[in-house]
């Protein structure tokens, strides 16, 4: 088990490194230089050049990369070239917003999806087909579109929930919940559909397995066969798909935060890009990759715990 863990952890590290290098390279492809952006249109070429060398923009690429990696390793993500705020500090504040929303959406989709999957797997026939079609539609709807529709119906028309804005849990738990309900629903709809399909397929597969048949021949109660044995067999693919969904939710939150005005990582990312704040862009990529990679690692460990055969890989 430790060997498996070590291998996955190493891979996780490599992934973050690749993300960092990738974003670094992308940022340096940007036309224009930070100096230009900071000083504005009126600056002369000499002033721009001076500012750039002050920032260190003119040094060879590898040196810049090396310095950057070194400072990241120390925990310093630099400062914004737009308004000088500490990138690390800012992202740390924003992380819980995105994180909590994604986790909540994942939790909702896990529970609702598994429930729906169980329902479809046991009823079969017309009910099964209905769930299948509904989930097919649900996972195809763009989250930002359903988000706007939800805002229209539940916020503008019914006045039940706020359309935009975020309240931290510290400021008021019920207020917080209200402010993230719509985003979570918008994110959870497609995720629930995917989890439901996976759960259904995995359960049907599990119920056909020979060892379940053996237990049936020994007279085990059907509810036990379904909820204990089949569910456990099916949990591995479900957990795996939840991992994938979490990554998607994290990525998708970028768009959702834009729509609902949530001050999370996604908002930071779009702000940074539109304002060419290159250290901020790099910072967001690092933090996002780190989170995603850690969650994947956790899920890998969970899956390995559930299914010992995985550990050999």
């Amino acid at each position: 088990m430790t060997g498996y863990l070590a291998r996955r952890a190493f891979l996780a590290l490599v992934t973050v490194l690749v993300a960092v290098v990738l974003s670094f390279l992308l940022v340096h492809l940007t036309p224009g230089s930070p100096g230009q952006l900071i000083l504005g249109a009126g600056a002369t070429k000499a002033q721009v050049a001076a500012k750039n060398s002050q920032i260190g923009w003119n040094q060879p690429l590898l040196t810049q990369l090396g310095r950057y990696l070194a400072s990241v390793a120390r925990g310093n993500l630099g400062t914004s070239i737009i308004d000088g705020h500490s990138i690390g500090g800012d992202l740390l504040q924003r992380l819980p917003v995105t994180g909590l929303t994604a986790v909540l959406a994942a939790a909702v989709s896990a529970v609702a999806g598994t429930g729906l999957g169980l329902f479809a797997a046991t009823r079969r026939g017309a009910v099964d087909r209905a769930v299948d079609t509904a989930s097919g539609v649900a996972l195809s709807l763009p989250a930002f579109w359903t988000g706007v529709l939800l805002v229209y119906v539940l916020s503008i028309k019914a006045g039940l929930l706020p359309a935009t804005g975020y309240v931290t849990p510290a400021q008021g738990l019920s207020e917080w919940l209200k402010s993230i309900t719509l985003p979570v629903i918008a994110l959870a709809i497609p995720a629930t559909a995917i989890v439901a399909r996976t759960a259904r397929a995995a359960l049907i597969q599990a119920l056909r397995e020979p060892h379940i048949q053996m237990l049936r021949s020994l007279g085990e109660a059907p509810w036990r066969l379904l909820l204990i044995h089949a569910l456990r067999s099916a949990s591995v693919p479900v957990v795996s798909v939840l991992g994938v969904q979490f990554v998607a939710l994290f990525s998708g939150s970028v768009i959702i935060e834009n729509l609902f005005g949530l001050p999370g990582l996604g908002q930071a990312a779009s702000n940074a890009i539109t304002s060419y704040d290159f250290p901020a862009v790099e910072g967001v990529v690092i933090v996002a990759s780190l989170v995603v990679v850690l969650v994947n690692l956790l899920l890998d460990v969970l899956v390995a715990g559930l299914d010992p055969r995985v550990r050999a890989r």
């Binding site: 690749v18 990738l22 539609v137 060892h211 020994l218 109660a221 990554v247 779009s270 010992p308």
Partner: protein, 652 residues
């Protein structure tokens, strides 16, 4: 070169019924029709848009802003008075192309890597898989945003190509599994022996096998790509104004949703329908593939499936009812042909009954029927199954369940998969012991050890701690026998219990079963295709052919002096000989093939292949008792027996 062996007839080529062309399977499903249809329609409308659109995409009508649908603007106008219908179908072309591009890039990158990884073995595969893992773990949208930051949002095709590279990792993961599976197929080995080089193997042998998975994945990725594209455009990172894009239109709409809620509908619905269409197409393709696999698997199965053994009435009838009494049992495919007909047998405690026959004779189904574990597509049409006087046929699941394990139990064919791979043997055994005997954990463990010793396992403590895949085949089968005996059943039903085992291990398991019968008086119904197994362990035997019993009686009688031509032919085709028998130059073979259910003649079902068939064999034949107590379903049985004893060729 010509060889004087039976000519095997080639089957007629499967011809479609005249006058009806065959639609590909995925198009016969509603999802597939909708998906393919919508996408084609959209592509057509987009390609021809400049020809039919009523307005230019940028033409503004500042007086008619934010109007709903009207005769001049079927889908309404946007905030600058532009026609929404026009803009939607102007935007659709590039959207479809860009999504197609990302899918094409994804497959162009992934497929060569997959083929190389599958062909060139371990080292190459490790490298490519690690790379794919890393790319898979990157947060795609954020990386794309960084790219957009670098090159601007206008260059949709470049961004979609980059998405394609990121998606290649997903394709790689899925296709690698398929390709590796295909590589292990025997026909790839055969091709290598034929001297086929790696490139040709990849292209001619592996790639075609990936076709359906590729199609399914391509549809799904197409859908994902359109979603991501629109999402980026929604955030303002799509094509610059005034170029229309679906995401951009929805973004505009969201700003004006209070004044004109309708404006949210057209672009959103078209976008949603497109994504739904692509996903449904993928679903239809996946379901078609699934059906295909199932159809292939239902083809001539390997020899397995024993027929339910039927017991004739023993001559020395002991007063009192036999343990198991089956009368005139018939099984049928629900809504279809009969699979087993007129099955009658009985079995006393402490006796072993063998059900023997080749694939498809119905033996396994009969065994499953005794436990009430028929697959959903098979049902019992008529007949009775009495166990200790109780009628089992027609009992619901709720009434049958208390009997399972306690009165009747099953020994499976493949012990390795019949045990739960995730738990130790001890855990599984103890769980059943506690359920049947209602004892505590420690007591259950002690009983588990005793149970394992009873089935001949020398080191029960070690086996308790092991997981099923750590055991040898013979050991695992002993464990399943122990499991089956936990509830102390009176009747064991063994479905080809030794087929998956080595011959020396098989001998041990048969010895074990015999010992258990002697010690506990349990009755056993054993299903097998192997006459030798029957000869070893069975007291009585029933030979099944095409869904019914053709001969049944004491094993010694039936196997030493078979009366039915099929039994005789089966014995003569068997290359296993006693030490003193001479090796024949050729084995006796039976021409033709077993008639499939639904195609059984009304007369003797074996007549078409029987050497001794005559005109009268075309009338229905019943099981008739023979002189020595066996039951035979053959009109010529007596006559052939007399011929044989007179020294003329006969069934034996």
């Amino acid at each position: 070169m010509s060889i004087t062996v039976e000519r095997a007839e080639a089957p007629p080529a499967a011809k479609p019924p005249a006058g009806r062309t065959r639609l590909p399977r995925f198009l016969r499903r509603p999802g597939g029709i909708f998906g393919a249809g919508w996408l084609l329609l959209l592509a057509l409308l987009s390609a021809t848009a400049p020809l039919w659109r009523p307005y230019g995409p940028d033409a503004q009508h500042l007086t008619g802003r934010l109007h709903g649908p009207s005769p001049s603007h079927w889908l309404g106008t946007d905030d600058l008075g532009r026609d929404i219908l026009t803009r939607i179908f102007t935007a659709s072309g590039p959207a479809l192309l860009a999504a197609a591009l990302s899918v094409a890039v994804a497959f162009a990158v992934a497929i060569p890597l997959v083929l190389a990884a599958a062909e060139y073995g371990h080292r190459v595969e490790r490298l490519t898989s690690r790379c794919a893992d890393v790319i898979l773990a990157l947060p795609a949208t954020i990386i794309l945003l960084a790219l957009i930051g670098a090159v601007g949002g206008g260059d949709t095709y470049l961004i979609m190509a980059a998405l394609g590279v990121l998606m290649a990792s997903v394709v790689y993961r899925t296709l690698l599994g398929v390709a590796q599976g295909l590589h292990h197929r025997l026909y790839v080995d055969a091709a290598r022996v034929d001297g086929v080089g790696p490139a040709r193997i990849g292209i001619r042998y592996v790639l075609p096998g990936m076709a359906t998975v590729t199609a399914v994945q391509a549809s799904q990725l197409f859908a994902a790509s359109i979603l991501i594209q629109s999402g980026l455009a929604f955030m303002g990172f799509g094509p610059a104004e005034p170029t229309p894009s679906w995401g951009g239109m929805i973004a505009t709409a969201s700003k004006y949703v209070y004044q004109d809620p309708w404006i949210m509908v057209p672009a959103g619905v078209v976008l949603a329908l497109t994504v739904i269409a692509a996903n449904m197409l993928g679903d239809a393709l996946a379901a078609a593939r699934h059906d295909q696999d199932h159809k292939r698997r239902r083809q001539p199965p390997r020899r397995a499936t024993a027929a339910a053994p039927t017991c004739p009435q023993p001559e020395s009838a002991v007063p009192g009812a036999p343990l198991l009494e089956v009368t005139d049992l018939s099984l049928e495919l629900t809504g279809g042909p009969r699979l087993v007909t007129g099955l009658t047998l009985s079995l006393d405690a402490g006796r072993v009954l063998g059900l023997v026959g080749e694939s498809g004779c119905g033996k396994t189904l009969t065994a499953l029927a005794l436990l009430g574990l028929l697959p959903p597509e098979v049902s019992s049409a008529s007949g009775s199954i009495r166990f200790e006087g109780r009628e089992l046929a027609g009992m619901g699941e709720r009434q049958l369940r208390p009997l399972r394990g306690r009165e009747l139990a099953m020994i499976p064919q493949d012990p390795m998969v019949a045990l739960d791979p995730l738990f130790t043997v001890g855990f599984q055994l103890a769980a059943q012991i506690r359920r049947f005997r209602r004892v505590g954990r420690k007591e259950a463990t002690r009983m588990a050890i005793a149970q394992l010793e009873r089935v001949g396992i020398g080191d029960p403590a070690r086996v308790l701690r092991a997981r099923p895949y750590e055991l040898s085949g013979g050991m695992a089968q002993r464990v399943t026998i122990a499991l089956a005996l936990t509830g102390e059943p009176r009747l064991l039903i063994a479905d080809e219990p030794t087929t998956a085992l080595d011959v020396t291990v098989q001998a041990e398991i048969l010895d074990l079963l015999r010992r258990l019968v002697e010690e506990t008086g349990v009755a056993v119904v054993i299903v097998s295709h192997d006459m030798g197994v029957i000869a070893d362990i069975c007291d009585e035997v029933a030979v099944m052919y095409a869904g019914h019993i053709v001969e049944q009686g004491p094993a010694a009688e039936v196997l030493e002096e078979p009366r039915h031509p099929y039994t005789g032919a089966l014995l003569a085709a068997n290359p296993h000989l006693a030490g003193d028998q001479a090796v024949p130059g050729r084995l006796l073979t039976i021409p033709g093939q077993v008639p499939a259910p639904g195609g059984w003649p009304t007369g003797c079902r074996f007549a078409a292949r029987c050497r001794f068939a005559q005109e009268r064999c075309n009338t229905p034949v019943e099981l008739a008792a023979d002189a020595n107590g066996t039951l035979v379903r053959c009109t010529r049985a007596k006559e052939l027996h007399e011929l044989r004893t007179a020294g003329r060729p006969g069934p034996g």
